[in-house]
Every structure is written in C-alpha cells, then in structure tokens.
Symmetry: C2
Subunit: 346 residues, 2 copies
C-alpha cells in the first residue's frame, strides 16, 4: 500500500516536492474518525510518546519526593533545542536527585540554534549530554530509578526495570503488543517500539478522555499535560511548533513531535487523539500535516486558522524574501479534513 | 503514477522511513538505459544545471577577457557552503569585473557550517550575498553581462538577455520546450524551468559525449567540467558529496546537486548522463541514490565501492555512536541497478 500525499510543495504553478504519510484520528471510545494511509502498520513513535515515558516518574511518587516543578515535568516530556533555559532546567532536575550530567546516557548533541552553539564554541567547550534534546526525559528517568531503588547504571537498556515498565505502559495505553521484533534503539539510546498510528492515536485519545484508564493514570497524564501547557518553552524551543501551539491554545491541546516525521496530539475538549507519520521522515511534512489537522479540530476563529497557517500554508521564499511557492496540504488531504469538519464526525 | 522507493532508512529490523523518486540514465545517443518512475514529468532542476548556466560566461569570451582562473570557473558552477575560501573566490571574480557584492541579486545566506557562522557573529556582522551558495554563479553572470554590454541591473529577471540565453541553452541541451508555464523563481531569484529527468539526463549525456553539440559548446563544457574536477572544493564544501566524489574520481565524473532532492551527473568515459529527483525534496535520499548509481557506473574497485558506501549505505547512529539502522537502497532499486551492471547495458 502506498500512503497518500498529505503535503505538497509548489514552485510557480507546479508541485515541486511532496510528502506522503499516514494520519489517524481516534475518539475516546476507540473509533477511527479519520484514517489515511496504512494506519495499521507499525511506525516508531520516537519522541512523540515522551509523555507516556514520563509516567513512571509521576506515578511512582518520584516527582513529588524530589520536589520537581511543573517546568521540570514539562522538560521530562520535551524534545528541546538545548537553549540555556533548557540546560539549566535539566541541571536542576539532576541536582535535586543528587546526580550530575555524567549520569545521563543520552549522549551529547549540539544545540539547534547558532547562537547557542556559538556560546559553547567561544568557551572552547563541547556540548554536553544536558544539551541533548532528550536530557529532561533522561533526568526524569534517573529520578524514577533513584526513587524506586533501581540501579542508575544501565537505566537506558531494554531489560532495565524502568524500560520494562515503560514497555508495559505503552502496551496498556496503545493496546498493541510490543514484542522484541518491533523494538529498536532510539537516538538517545533507549528502546523504541514500533506501534501502528491508529494505536498511537488511541493512546492519545485515552490521555485526552481518560477512557479505559485508572484514576491514578489519568491524574498523572493530566498533571504532565497541564505542566506542558503551563511551560510550553520547556517542551520544545523558542519559536518551535509545539511551544508556539501550546502557548496559544494552552490546555486545549497537547502536541508532541517525534523524530522521522512523527507527530501526535491529544485534544481533551474533544476527547480525540491524533497520530501522523510522514513516510520520508521530514519535519516540513509533519508540521504542515499536524497544523492542517489542528485547523479542523482545534481552531475556533479565523485568527486561530491564520495562526496555524504559519505551518499549514508556509510560503516558499527566495533569499530576498519574494514568494516562489507554498508548502500546503494536498487536495485529497484537504478534502478529507474538510469532510471531517463538515460532518463534525468527532 | 507513484514513483518507486529508491532509498529506505531502517531502524532495527524495520524500515522507518523511505524516499521515493525518479532515476534516468541516458546514453550519448539518447537511449534511456535506466528509467525508474515518471522520468517524463518535469521537475525543477534548480542548481543541478549550473554548468549550463555558466556557458554564456565561457562561450562569450567573458571568462578569458576578465582572466578568470579555473577555481573561479568552478565557483561559477558551485553550490558552496559559504566557507572563507568560497567567499574570497566570489570576491575575486567580482573585483576582476570591477563590481562588488552589492551587485549580486542572489540575496544573503548564512554559511552552512557553525564555525563559519560563528566568525560572522563574532564580528557583529550579518552574512552577505557573497556567502550565498550561488554567489559564484551570480558573479559569473555579472562577468557575462559586462562583457556583452548588457545591463547589470535586473540580470536575474526572466526577460534579461542573459536569462533568455540560458533559457535557449537549456532548450538546446535538453531538447525540451521550456515555456513560461513551467517557469518559476529559484531561491537565488533567477528563473528555473521544469524539465523531465530523462531530458536532464540527456543534457548531461551530451555534456559527457559531445554528441549533437557544436565544437565550441563541447569545448566550453569540457573546460568547465575540468575546472570543477581540478577544484572540487570550490564546487561544494569541505566534506561535501560533490567535493569528495570529484576529489576521488576527478575527470571521470561531473556530479552536481540541486535543491529539493535533485542530483545530476555526467560520466565522460562511459558517455552517460544521470538525473535523479527525490519526491520529498530531501538530500538524504538524493545523495544515497546518486552514490548507488555511481557504484554501478563509476566504481572500479572495492575501495571505490566502499568510498561511495559513505552515502549509499550510511549507518543511522545513536548520539553515542551506536548503530541503530542504515540508510540504503531499497530492494527494487538495488535490483534495477544490479541488472544494469550485469548487462553492461551502457
């Protein structure tokens, strides 16, 4: 099966490039309100499921025991850009648990922004593991390990009790069976299990609605979701999609990017979950596709729609700022989304 | 028509992402030796045709009149990274023609490498048009304009005599009719005309073989091609695909990237032209696809093949350098390429 074109990139009157992929929108009751492409074939969710990977930190009582702030909980769910504020927040979590960045197993990464890279170069230094976009998640992992009395060494490996617990949480949330043959290594060295988009969307629909979840699980997810809504900078980056969208819509949406073209969202008011995977793994396609979905499911005003056009209909410009084309939803995707709006199916 | 998967990106035992696209390999006589995907549908070649866009500079006598060096001719064919050597070379061309970077219409662009960006920030400056990856091409345009007595102002517009001449050259080389309805604006503000990959491959096959070309045209193309082979740094960047491949194989190949997933090559010994377009516009796919093609058409030894594996079979690594997957040719593409090798069709 060939997944449909979701996003096209025009230049002049022609389509220059295109992004194929899969979209699943699922209701709290488990119904697939929209399924485009092979929503039943497993994809690696990568960082899009960080909120579920942060559940052991909250549910074990570790977050309270170490007195983590809401901003620190948001960083535990983040793929951040390694800006100064992110790095300071990761250090703060580590110091609360009595560790330092040498305990982080995520590896080092240069910050995304040139100015943050420059600061490191000018100091004659190299980036540390605290600059890694996953440092907050890993710092949260370490909190959970220390609180549970689990070994800190090897916390990132598949057989460690923490990763086994995350495995079980992902199975519970998605209803998918996550066997070793769909397990691989994520960029930050932890296991990642491939999950069909319709199952990922179900997990986020459950996080949005609480359906099929224990009170304790729903309380933990709501706490994490609200922490992200209150601290959207900690979740992403200055000007980043997730930061900007959660800054505007606050608790009306939880939205999270994953590497290789994944994007997931939970919409509590509408009890909906969304999962998107762009075949080519690119962020240009995944951001435009998620913005298009959010225009249908979240935007209430023309201003909301115009705000989301920043990603859903992005001008392609020359280096002198003249418009040469547009990144926009393809006709079939637009039609499917419009139909969803018209029927108010969800 | 859906173009086939050329390159796949694995993680663990699964394919995580994939890149679809079109490949055309054409002989000097015009025969399509390999055609994968819709090789007859026009794509914007973007910077892949810079060698043809540099022909007015050479054929008019401007390059000789202003005493351009081979390194400067190579820069006129380049998409460079704005490193110090590139910027100095662009300035040198401009000073020979009595102009400065304010005459460049390409717009400004930050250099690609962090260290080159850092140098500009430390000086409290902004990047200039000389840092633009197309600055050499534009400096060459200005030489041609001054030499021909054409206005310098507006040299980048579609109706300027220089761009009309380039239009006619592209029609001659490709045999395609390039009407206004396939014309759009390139990132550096000049016109770009969409051309079917099989026609682009034909143009490069002609550049490789001289077939159907005047002696003067072939002499100019050979001069530019040899200048690039002798100065591969000027064509691309430190560690860049085109620089590395032409450093190794010298005059056996002319290879050039274009934006949005385009890659073209001419192989003089085999009288072959190659054109690749990756649907999603990504360089990960286009570099891997071109390296795979060059393994079949250019590599003579196991060392050559291993060298090209750097792009044809790239490990996907964690941030601690552990292998998590591979960027590699898909099965059907591998099979088509192997068949091409086995039959020695070209």
């Amino acid at each position: 099966m060939t997944n449909p074109v979701l996003i096209e990139v025009t230049r002049g009157d022609l389509v220059e490039s295109q992004h194929r992929g899969t979209v699943a929108i699922v209701g709290g009751g488990g119904a697939l309100h929209l399924g485009l492409g092979a929503t039943d074939l497993p994809v690696f969710p990568r960082s899009a499921v960080k909120i579920f990977q942060a559940l052991p930190l909250v549910e074990s009582g570790a977050a309270d025991a170490f007195g983590l702030s809401d901003a620190e909980l948001a960083l535990a769910c983040a793929s951040h850009d390694g800006e100064e504020g992110h790095v300071a927040c990761a250090h703060s979590i580590l110091s609360k648990v009595g560790l330092d960045e040498s305990a982080l197993a995520c590896g080092t990464q240069w910050p995304a922004r040139g100015e943050d890279q420059d600061r490191i170069r000018r100091a004659g230094k190299e980036p540390s593991a605290a600059h890694n976009n996953c440092s907050g998640k890993h710092a949260g992992f370490l909190c959970a390990c220390v609180h549970n009395g689990w070994p800190v060494e090897g916390y990132e490996t598949r057989d460690h009790p923490l990763q086994r617990q995350i495995h079980d949480i992902l199975e519970e949330m998605t209803g998918a069976t996550l066997s070793d043959d769909v397990c691989a290594i994520d960029g930050c060295s932890i296991p990642t299990w491939a999950i069909p988009p319709e199952r990922l969307a179900l997990a986020f629909a459950r996080a949005a609605s609480g359906r099929d979840l224990s009170e304790q699980r729903m309380a933990a997810l709501t706490r994490l979701r609200k922490a992200c809504a209150a601290h959207p900078f900690e979740v992403d980056a200055t000007g980043g999609f997730c930061t900007e969208v959660m800054t505007r819509f606050r608790e009306k949406v939880y939205v999270k990017v994953g590497a290789e073209g994944v994007f997931c969202a939970a919409l509590p008011d509408r009890k909906l979950g969304v999962a998107i995977k762009i075949d080519d793994g690119g962020t240009r396609g995944s951001e435009a596709a998620m913005a298009t979905v959010l225009q249908a499911l979240l935007a209430e005003t023309e201003e909301d729609r115009a705000f989301l056009d920043r990603w859903a209909r992005t001008p392609v410009e020359t280096r002198r700022g003249v418009k040469a084309g547009t990144v926009r939803p393809g006709d079939d995707f637009s039609h499917a989304i419009r139909k969803l709006e018209d029927t108010s199916a969800c």
